[in-house]
């Protein structure tokens, strides 16, 4: 009885301190959780959320409602979330790197900050992959680099979006290999397979998933991961080939900054368990499952910020 009272008083004072109306922490969660995806349905983020939804529901014991709030490459959803979401643990949003690093640097009015929330976890990464048409004269990465050295700007590399993971990957390749290629942004991953197969670009910088999907019609020259991607065992990493390029998109989930640690821990756990269950389905598609939480999140953020910031700032100065 005494225990119950102290707990009650304790949580009440905590509530008062945080200004959360009527929420008993100990029983979290007890009402439906909204999981916002700031992109259109059908993309990688959406597909992943669909995979996660039933498992999260089972583990947390409440409904998880996936809601889309697309626009501005994610910025519309993120700015709205940072300005209005309550730190109750009942609102969470999908976050993507490098988007949340690049947009606030490159835009006057992104409407949100890179660190304006608590990132619960990054649950997977999709490493960049350099894909060329099947009949391309570039059999290896070295062929491409050699040609680009002799013919500056003549190699055209398509990718999804501007200052996106793909674009930054291409920029890093330019730096590492000392070459000058022309990056051509497309809107999303959708039009890229056609661009490769139709020979409208020399190659594309996209995610490992597309490399898996296009095995029959294209050749993957290299992937930008630490180790080889399980779904593409024959494709070397950039590192193996002597270029220090590791990168791609990280996908995770964030909650408002003042969300209590107990809630964050519970969500971490739920996402980790979910990951184990869906790995079997996602890995063959080219996803690389991760379980990056707590301090590791800060470490990854710091590492990627220092990798991308100089490139981004240089690009901004050139605009």
């Amino acid at each position: 009885m005494k225990f119950a009272t102290t707990r009650w008083v304790g949580s009440l004072s905590l509530l008062a301190a945080l200004g959360i109306p009527g929420m008993a922490l100990a029983e979290y969660p007890e009402q439906p959780i909204t999981y916002t995806i700031p992109f259109d349905p059908g993309g990688e983020s959406d597909v992943t959320a669909r995979f996660q939804e039933p498992h999260l529901e089972e583990i947390l014991g409440v409904d998880v409602n996936v809601k889309h709030r697309p626009g501005g490459g994610g910025a519309v959803g993120w700015s709205e979330f940072q300005s209005s979401a309550e730190p109750t643990g009942y609102e969470m949003i999908g976050v993507n790197i490098p988007h949340i690093i690049a947009q606030p640097i490159m835009r006057e009015n992104a409407g949100y900050e890179t660190d304006g929330w608590k990132i619960v976890t990054f649950f997977h990464t999709t490493p960049n992959a350099l894909i060329v048409p099947k009949d391309s004269p570039f059999k290896t990465l070295d062929d491409l680099v050699q040609y680009a050295k002799e013919n500056p700007q003549a190699v055209t590399l398509g990718g999804s979006g501007t200052f996106s993971a793909n674009h930054l990957g291409a920029l890093r390749l330019e730096r590492e290999a000392g070459i000058d290629v022309t990056y051509i942004p497309f809107t999303g991953t959708g039009p890229l397979p056609a661009a490769v197969q139709g020979g409208h670009v020399s190659g594309i910088f996209n995610y490992s998933m597309l490399g898996v999907q296009m095995q029959d019609n294209a050749r993957v020259l290299a992937v930008a991961s630490e180790e080889r991607v399980p779904a593409l065992p024959d494709v070397p990493t950039f590192k193996e080939l002597g270029y220090d390029i590791v990168g791609g998109a990280y996908r995770g989930v964030a909650v408002p900054k003042d969300t209590p640690d107990e809630i964050v821990n519970k969500l971490e756990e739920a996402f980790a368990k979910t990951n184990q269950r869906i790995a079997e389905k996602q890995e063959p598609l080219g996803f690389v499952m991760t379980d990056i939480t707590d301090e590791e999140v800060d470490k990854v953020m710091q590492q990627l910020k220092s990798a991308y910031q100089p490139i981004l700032e240089e690009a901004k100065a050139n605009q």
Binding site: D40, R50, H68, A194
Partner: protein, 513 residues
């Protein structure tokens, strides 16, 4: 062939047919609600398919897709509001027909055209997928630029009356499409300090605002319903269906042309059902013996629009299933489902899992067939509701649905305000003769043209004369010539007439004294 038979047997079960029927019905009603598009219908119903087997799930989604694209025609015809962007062109003649008391004729024509279109799309997919898929990849940025320009020449024919006002509308649309993050380059444009405007003006939001709100305002101003009271059927529903059936099949050229246009555009990635039906409509008008009657209630316009957009349903899966290229936005969701079930687009889909794939394709054919009974019955029901409901109930209900639909699109209140603002402005623009259609056309095609042009120019950075890349291969040259031809054939008759008239007036003057 064995595979096809096995596939046929696997869907011809009671469970299978019920799945298709339910999918078509659900899709139809979602498609008929302005704001809820085919893409949304698929996304919303996706979780329900998780508990089903892969084939049953795909059958359900294919049926929903088919129903939703068709459902957009209802509101297009009855209240001048395209339920999905694919039925914009249906409003041009469908609504005038309804105002003349021929609503059910228009609905019957739309239904028959959709069924035929849907089945022809399935036939293309089943028989010609590999050669057609090769066509998908030849459309690069330069070609897309010309396709968009070709579409923009439509402005001339859509602006019955004043070409200048049509062009003005088109320019307004293209300007609206530049708001937000630029498709290439990623700069934010015209957001005036509002982060929420980074998302730009969604096509559907503009569509609802520019089509529905002016119609509602004018209904309220005139104290009338959407349709005149005299909207009763001449000789009953059965005879309207028979009459339309006879009209369509006795002169099948329009239908065949629209289906072929529908199939070709469906394959081009980045151009969806909206472009399909607009181009088919324009060609129907161009080749008609009586082009002046288009826009005033010519049923051929409805047939062209509705048949071509339903060809697109199965047609756009040609590049999807063979190459993994979504031919239209809703296909991206189908691709997601395929991947979720571990099905990778490519040859394997037609060999290893051929029964499943063929079952899915055939089920879309059945879905198209089911449109006939479901559509004709649903059509009568919705038609009756719209005609019988007093306008003081009808008007607020439509307003309510449009606001909810707009909000639901991106869960955004900003979108609702944009919709209402555009609607109010659209009403006054309409009063001075600038119609919604050219504005929306400018919005759709402005973006495609911009992307195509900028990508082409970027790729040509090493060339001495970059813009030559726009006409660097045979296909882009052909498309460029088509653009010139299209401009010429729409402008020349008017110009000749005017100069002829002027010459005649001159003669009259000379003879007068």
């Amino acid at each position: 062939m064995d595979m096809l038979l096995e596939a046929l047997l696997s869907i011809l079960t009671l469970e299978g047919l019920i799945t298709i029927l339910a999918g078509v019905t659900a899709g139809l009603f979602i498609g008929a609600l302005p704001g809820l598009t085919a893409t949304m219908a698929l996304a919303v119903l996706l979780p329900f398919t998780f508990t089903m087997s892969p084939l049953q799930g795909l059958m359900a989604l294919g049926a929903v897709y088919m129903g939703a694209i068709y459902g957009g025609a209802f509101t297009a015809i009855l209240i001048n509001t395209p339920g999905t962007p694919s039925s914009i062109a249906t409003t041009f003649d469908g609504y005038p027909m309804a105002r003349q008391g021929r609503a059910y004729e228009a609905l019957a024509a739309a239904t028959i055209a959709s069924v035929v279109g849907g089945i022809i799309g399935v036939a293309f997919l089943l028989l010609l997928a590999p050669p057609l898929a090769r066509l998908a990849v030849v459309f690069g940025p330069a070609e897309m630029f010309w396709v968009a320009l070709l579409g923009l020449t439509l402005v001339a024919s859509l602006s019955s009356g004043s070409l200048l006002k049509g062009l003005l509308g088109g320019c307004i649309g293209m300007l609206l499409s530049t708001i937000g993050v630029s498709p290439i380059g990623g700069e934010t444009r015209f957001i005036f300090g509002f982060p929420a405007l980074q998302g730009g003006i969604e096509l559907i939001v503009a569509l609802i605002g520019l089509f529905v709100i002016p119609e509602l305002i004018s209904m309220a101003a005139q104290g009338r319903g959407a349709l005149p009271e005299s909207g009763k059927l001449k000789g009953g529903a059965g005879s309207a269906i028979l009459r339309m059936g006879k009209h369509i099949f006795s002169k099948p050229i329009n239908l065949i042309r629209s289906c072929i246009i529908g199939q070709i555009i469906a394959i081009i990635p980045g151009a969806g059902g909206n472009v399909t039906s607009l181009v088919a409509y324009n060609e129907a008008r161009r080749f008609s013996k009586d082009p002046a009657s288009f826009g005033k209630g010519n049923v051929d316009g409805v047939i062209a629009s509705e048949s071509s957009n339903n060809v697109m349903v199965a047609g756009s899966m040609v590049p999807l299933l063979t190459l993994g290229i979504p031919g239209a936005p809703p296909d991206a969701i189908i691709l997601g489902v395929l991947l979720m079930h571990g099905l990778r687009p490519g040859i394997d889909l037609f060999t290893e899992t051929g029964v499943l794939t063929n079952g899915f394709i055939l089920s879309m054919g059945f879905a198209a067939l089911f449109l006939l009974p479901v559509g004709l019955m649903g059509g009568r029901l919705i038609h009756r509701i719209v005609v019988k409901t007093p306008f003081y109930f009808l008007l607020p209900s439509i307003a309510m649905v449009t606001i909810l639909g707009t909000y639901a699109l991106r869960n955004s209140m900003v979108d609702v305000f944009i919709m209402l603002l555009l609607g109010t402005v659209g009403y006054f623009l309409r009063l001075i003769g600038i119609q919604a259609a050219p504005i929306v056309l400018g919005m759709i095609l402005g973006v495609i043209a911009e992307k195509g042009y900028v990508q082409t120019m970027l790729a040509a950075v090493v060339d001495p004369i970059p813009w030559l890349r726009l006409v660097a291969n045979p296909l882009s040259i052909v498309l460029a010539c088509l653009v010139v031809l299209s401009v010429a054939t729409t402008l020349l008759p008017g110009w000749l007439e005017r100069s002829g008239r002027m010459a005649k007036a001159k003669r009259d003057e000379e003879q007068a004294p």
